[in-house]
Amino acid sequence: MSVVVTWSMLAIIGITISFLLSALVYMLSHIFSSEMMSAWSKHEIQTALLTIILFVSLTSLANMQFVKEYTAGAKNYLSNLYNDAIFCQVSLYSSGSGLAMISSITFSINPTIASIKNAFNVFLNPQTQSGDEKKSNEGGRQNWSVGISPASFMQPVLIALSDIQSYLFIPFTTLQFHLQLFTFIFNKGATMILPLGIFLRAFKFSRHGGNLLIALFISLYFILPAMYLFGDSLMQSKFNTTQHMCENYKPSLVSEFGTPLLAKAGLGGPESFGDNWDGDFAKIILPESSKDLIFNGKSSFTTVFLRMIVECTILPMFAIIVSLGLAREFALLLGSDIDFSQLVRVV
């Protein structure tokens, strides 16, 4: 019959073994009259006591109601953000699809040389019949065609949209990765990562590894959700909380870029832009100040894109960088200098 040692039990076993080993070394230090061994065992007992205090305090803190509430809030924020971002992407598909379809319309004239000759003959001499020429071109070997796509002026917008679409996988995958990391930390943090860290910290030969795990647990379990909530508060202070990222967005792509492009092509007049029009169409798209550009409260294409970059990529990355930076400080406090920069690069 095999016995499963749970992770919490493992931590307690580790600390107990550490105490016993230290006691054994202390006894041996008296037998061998070794001051070095005596000092070592005293230091180990102190460390084991500190490890117990860490284990008890961190486990209690992780199980406190307010910690659970704010971590749940952070997870909700991330989930809502992800759903919003997907909604934005579908809206982009919708706009892009409409533009692409309009842009793809091609008119093609496919006359035969014989029919052109015939047309000339009819024009010059209305009485002339063209049956012989028709017969000479049977099989279509001399066919040629001329085609034109009248809505091709939409191509620049489509190319931009296509590029944006390609790069959008970064915020989406970043958000999904954060969601998965969040789930992993909150399902396994207090029950697996912390006890394993405590177990490794109990022994001198694996202390750095234990300190690394404890520092990671503190930073990812307590600091990371706080950073997400900070991001949420930052965005809420500038946007209407009930407003989704892509609300009222749908028609704006055409109006923001299509109308000025039409105007540039000479197909629209100043009246389309009201009093703002002075020949510089960029002024129509871009508000005057950068503050308005990002925080004008309207879901223009530009603001949607910028909000997606800020909220879905920069703020989560900032949260990770701050959390892992603090993890290094926590590790230093516990007695290990761990370089987390490699992990930040991977993230």
Binding site: V4, L10, V90, Y93, L213
Partner: protein
């Protein structure tokens, strides 16, 4: 002190001679030469120290005597390390890790289960890549469709399903990164195989042997730390990593069936062409046929735009599956291996510092 150390050495040699017949460590059978080198090294080192102690006594030099006492103490510590390791490694190799905790499983359970979990992850990642590639192909094929009508040789063409080209563009980079993730897992698997090979494991007895000699003691400690960390702690940490994120929540993409979309377009194109061809029945019939074809195609093409009438949910479902699967793959193939290497390098640092000189092996992370 000297007496106790010699008792320890004799005890060890007796145990070692009993165990010499089986050089099996975690399923890897050590060459008998390796064990012989280790035993010979310890005996030779003890003999040298004894000789030096005798010289100290002959010359009546307390300095030489104290140095030999420290040295024989170090040989004793090396033997204690070897004794502890011989038992500890057997336990470590038979551990099996689960989300609930650890238990003593079958023989070599640790390596066998770790390898099988990495293989499962590799298989799932490759399946995900192939799934994404198939979906990419389907969406791109339907997205590239073009239709229109021809009347008297003149035509109007358009692309009815450009939305699928956009979806294909979203899948393409994710699919590429999934392939990288697969190779990251392959790297992890190969690393696991290498560090558990007979040649790499031989570093452990070599390190123990070198630690018995004063001049190369620190280097021997580093070898013990690195081989223990990479050959035994690394598989254990990888197994714990897989236990932590089990089960892998991969979601298959629904994709689309190109034939479902292209067949109606093809039929309409045929109808339009036939309509244009049967001009003998009169231009009016051709025109009506062509216009009917155009409006039917336009109606089908309106579907991708109508996200609110159901297709949006279908596309969103696929996007959710795509990103959710890739999020899991990123966690398994990039984040966890990096974290595992970081933990192992921290343990190796402590181990090698305790046994010899502090060594940093976190450079392996760069490969990931």
């Amino acid at each position: 002190m000297m007496k106790q150390s010699y008792i320890l050495i004799s005890l060890f040699l007796t145990i070692a001679l009993v165990q010499a017949s089986s050089g099996d460590v975690c399923g890897v059978v050590f060459s008998q030469d390796m064990l012989s080198i280790f035993f010979t090294g310890v005996i030779f080192s003890s003999l040298l120290i004894s000789l030096w102690y005798m010289v100290g006594k002959l010359l009546d030099s307390p300095d030489i005597e104290s140095v030999t006492k420290v040295e024989i103490q170090q040989v004793g510590i090396t033997i204690v390390i070897a004794l502890i390791l011989s038992g500890l490694l057997q336990i470590l190799c038979n551990i099996s890790v689960s989300p609930e905790g650890i238990e003593l499983g079958q023989k070599n359970a640790l390596m066998l289960s770790t390898e099988s979990k990495i293989k499962d992850a590799m298989k799932l990642t490759l399946e995900a890549y192939l799934d994404m590639s198939q979906a990419l192909f389907d969406y791109a094929a339907v997205g590239s469709a073009s239709t229109g009508f021809i009347v008297y040789g003149n035509a109007v063409y358009f692309s009815p399903f450009p939305v699928y080209s956009f979806i294909a563009q979203s899948i393409a980079p994710v699919s590429k990164m999934t392939l990288f993730a697969y190779f990251s897992l392959v790297f992890q698997y190969v690393l696991l195989k290498i560090v558990h090979s007979q040649v790499f494991l031989a570093l452990l007895p070599i390190g123990l042997t070198l630690r018995a000699f004063p001049i190369v003691r620190k280097f021997g400690g580093v070898l013990i730390g690195v081989s223990l960390g990479m050959s035994f702690i690394y598989p254990l940490i990888v197994a714990i990593g897989f236990a932590a994120i089990e089960p892998l929540s991969y979601k298959h993409l629904n994709g689309i069936s190109p034939m479902e979309y292209l067949l109606p377009v093809g039929t309409i194109m045929l109808a339009a062409t036939l309509g244009g061809a049967v001009t003998a029945l009169g231009p009016l019939v051709a025109l009506i046929s062509a216009i009917t074809a155009f409006t039917s195609t336009a109606a089908i093409s309106a579907l991708p735009l109508g996200f609110d009438i159901g297709l949006g949910d279908f596309v969103t479902g696929d996007l959710h599956s795509l990103y959710a699967s890739f999020g899991t793959i990123m966690l398994v193939a990039f984040f966890m291996p990096a974290l595992e290497v970081l933990i192992v390098s921290a343990i190796v640092r402590s181990l090698s510092a305790s046994l010899g000189t502090e060594t940093d092996i976190s450079g392996i992370l760069r490969a990931i």
